[in-house]
Amino acid sequence: MDLDYHALAPELVVAATILVVLGLDVALPRPRKYWTAFAGVLGLALAAVPLLTLAFGDGPETRSMLGGAYVVDGFALVLKAVFIVGGYLVLLMSVSYIESDRYYQGEYYLLMLTSILGSLVMASSRDLITLFVGLELVTGPLFLLAGWRKGDAKSNEASLKFFILGVLSTAILLYGMSFLYGLTGSVTFEGIREAGADLLDSGAFRLAVLFTLVGFGFKVTAVPFHFWAPDTYEGAPTPVTAYLSVGSKAAGFVGLLLLCYKALPSVTEIWGPALWVLAALSMTLGNLTALRQDNVVRMLAYSSIAQGGFILVPFAAAAVSNDPAVIQEAASATIVYVIIYAFMNLGAFGVVIAGARRTGSTMIDDWAGMWRYAPRLAVLGAMFFFSLAGIPPLAGWYAKFAMFLAILRPGNAWATALAVIAAVNAVIALVYYARIGKTMWMDHVPEGADTAGTVNPLTGSLALALGISALFVVVAGILPFEFAGVFADLAKVVTTGI
């Protein structure tokens, strides 16, 4: 066993945290259960430390262990960082939410941390088995968390829908994977890559690839595999929704990235067009549907479907070109988009949590004129929603910019057509994002709204989470160079061997 404990440290810390939380949950009396939250938050913060030492230490750039089954390289590190920071923010947002109702705190944090652990595993996986198990580790706890508001029929329903479609997607994914393995004789990405090149014309192999993609399409809420998302997002506890739309979705994209660029780069002809279609459908249907939403969570659900479409766009670019530079840029664009999206979408959900606390509603119209009585919240809201819309100088612009850059690079007609679809969608998306801005800033406060402000919507941990997200959204928007440069290298990592 060639274990590199330094490289494994983040996973180990998170795993240990899970156990500590479990222990605390058992040991502590009910009024003290908030210590579990503290432990979880602290654990995640600690997990970030080895990430830093790995990233900036003197060690080898790529740490491979267990015969290449588990690899910690730049790509993995950055994505782990996203998962950990994203998870950290979600935990922060959860604190006030979970405290405020009768929830099972200890169990909640345990499941959340387990899911985060799963995403860490996924980022380092280099074979189908690890990828699959990691994915299930991400998803399994989430099925349960979606139903966490036990007394709420909506939450129950959210959970059940999510679960049934989730297992369906797992089944399809596995069926695809079984063929991937079967036709190539290998479960490692490397092996699949080598054998896959000869199988390009094989229909069964195409089925294998496509079914596997569909499995991940479920995770990234690509149309038409998205149907669960709006209902689940609306029904689940909001922090869980935030995590679903960011962490779990990012995990899905990590799977796609690994699969497409690591395992299947030689058969872009198969997955490229498919992802082209999924991207176009997701952007267009997600956006059009979001236009008609009156519930801000549901709107965010459809918006995140559309955003998923945007993130898928660069794959189509990679698929039409054999130029390594193009493929690297496409991979980099996806990673950049995922990261920026994570922060701005988490911020948006944070605002939703705070707004719901303040107004007692998630209906957009109930938020009218929030600027008058909760100006800071309104500023934050405008910031995140317009960042999602991609308006400079908020970070979202760079995500979209990188995406356009990637898709236009090949100069291929199909790619360009997708770019035009994306451009039109970017404009449509503005309408509903701006609508929230409009409602919060320009409409009159509805009759009977509680403007006196008995509830401070921005309590400690939530404020911290929003502050971090906001800082990122602004700084990354103005100075995207700091990490954009890093990603260019990362993209090389993820696409090596092409």
Partner: protein
């Protein structure tokens, strides 16, 4: 290999002996008007697949399947069925009234898959050859080594999946105490 050649092999008789009941059982799983029957037909189908695994020299997997599924999962199912007070033994319509779209979709899936499998079989060599592993039992040690070596991480991860499922499942499924009961519980 022609069909007559194929059917001439005894091992294929064994295959058919397990595959045909398996398919029939599977069909009953999805059509039975009684939940308990459906669950029991699943047992039958899985048992048949365990048999197939043995045919394919995957004894360990076969026994895992029997132990885990037949021993545990199906029992879980039966508990679930009972708790949800599904009408045991009584025939009700467990399916939607309109099933043809489902049938069309399923047939579509089968047609496409079947066609592609045949296509790949003609493309790729060896599909029609006798399976090489048949008759050679896989040393369980290889599997064990795989679990603690190359697949250590997923192995551990599965542990956490089970942990989460366990704890989360209990939390969700258990009946919440009312505040009064809770207070009482706290005192005890």
């Amino acid at each position: 290999m022609t069909f007559s050649e194929w059917i001439a092999e005894p091992v294929n008789w064994a295959f058919l002996a397990m595959a045909i009941p398996m398919v029939l059982a599977a069909l009953r799983v999805v059509t039975s008007r009684n939940v308990v029957h459906a669950a029991l037909f699943l047992v039958l189908a899985l048992a048949a697949s365990a048999g197939l695994f043995i045919l394919l020299s995957a004894e360990f997997v076969a026994w895992v399947l029997v132990l885990v599924y037949i021993g545990a999962v199906v029992v879980l199912f039966l508990f679930g069925i009972m708790i949800t007070r599904a009408p045991i033994g009584r025939e009700t319509n467990l399916s939607h009234d309109t099933r043809w779209p489902a049938a069309v979709a399923a047939l579509g899936v089968f047609a496409v898959t079947f066609w592609l499998i045949n296509a790949v079989a003609t493309q790729m060599g060896g599909f029609g050859d006798p399976l090489p592993a048949v008759g050679r039992a896989t040393a369980t040690g290889i599997l064990g080594e795989g679990f603690i070596n190359r697949y250590l991480i997923p192995f551990e991860a599965v542990g956490f999946v089970l942990l989460a499922a366990l704890i989360g499942g209990i939390t969700l499924a258990r009946k919440d105490l009312t505040p009064a009961e809770e207070e009482e519980g706290a005192r005890v």
